[in-house]
Amino acid sequence: MKTPEEEILSFSKKRRGNVVMTRHGSLLFVGGHGPEDEWTGDPYYTGRLGAELDEEAGYQAARKCGEIILSVLQDYLGNLDRIDGIVKAFGLISCTPSFTMHETVMDGFSDVMVEVLGDRGVHARSAMGTSNLPGNIPVEIEVIVSIRD
């Protein structure tokens, strides 16, 4: 019988002490995910909001982040019905200094959570701009998820 931590370690790809998620009791702390292919790491979107990308493309990129996070949770939990709630999301948006539509971009993530999970998808959220993200992705989102057995 594996502990929850061992279960996560055996399932997730390990990158220098950095795992996809950790668990404490009924809470999962999921690391930042970009709009990238989970196996190849190839980004679906690159560039900064307000420069190469507009907010509609940013919305779609944030949606993709949400879909990827749900697929990671599905892999770990086996069944998304085990999600009690998406508790908290933190969104990092790569953008020009004059970009202001961060919330519109992050709505892409929030919309997909509610479409898939209904009321369980409702969450607290923060969004911020930054000048650089890994691999020049436009959006990176981390979440805290509450689960049930």
Partner: protein
Amino acid sequence: MSQTDQRLEALGIRLQRKDRRGKGVVAVRQCGDLLFVSGHGPEKADGTMLYTGKVGAELTKEQGYEAARQCGINLLASVRDAIGDLDRVDRVLKAFGLVASAPDFFEQPAVMHGFSDLMVEVLGERGLHARSAMGTNCLPGNIPVEVEAVLRIRR
């Protein structure tokens, strides 16, 4: 009137703003005895921003301090809205402050003191918290400060 509300009245602070975000996002999400509070900006009661712009460019450090304080007032308003009574706040565990900064501005902690001072003024020891502060090139709606927090409540 709760003890914390009396304290707010003595300080001359009014929490009247109700945060209704919608679109899958709520101001406060409870999980067990923890409250996860969304990032709050420096809106005033009338819905307009106390300040917009970047600290170290359009705004001074002192204006940043005032903005962080306003973020704190709004955050407490959302918490009271969620749990009914701020006396139920057991502890502000953790705060994370984002400061939209000019590239050569390095005093983000001095800005965040505006938030932390308010927490202690209103909640006393219960307002003491772990804190991180960072500068960023821009924030939603060109606000200068955004603060999110995790609180523990009494059930």
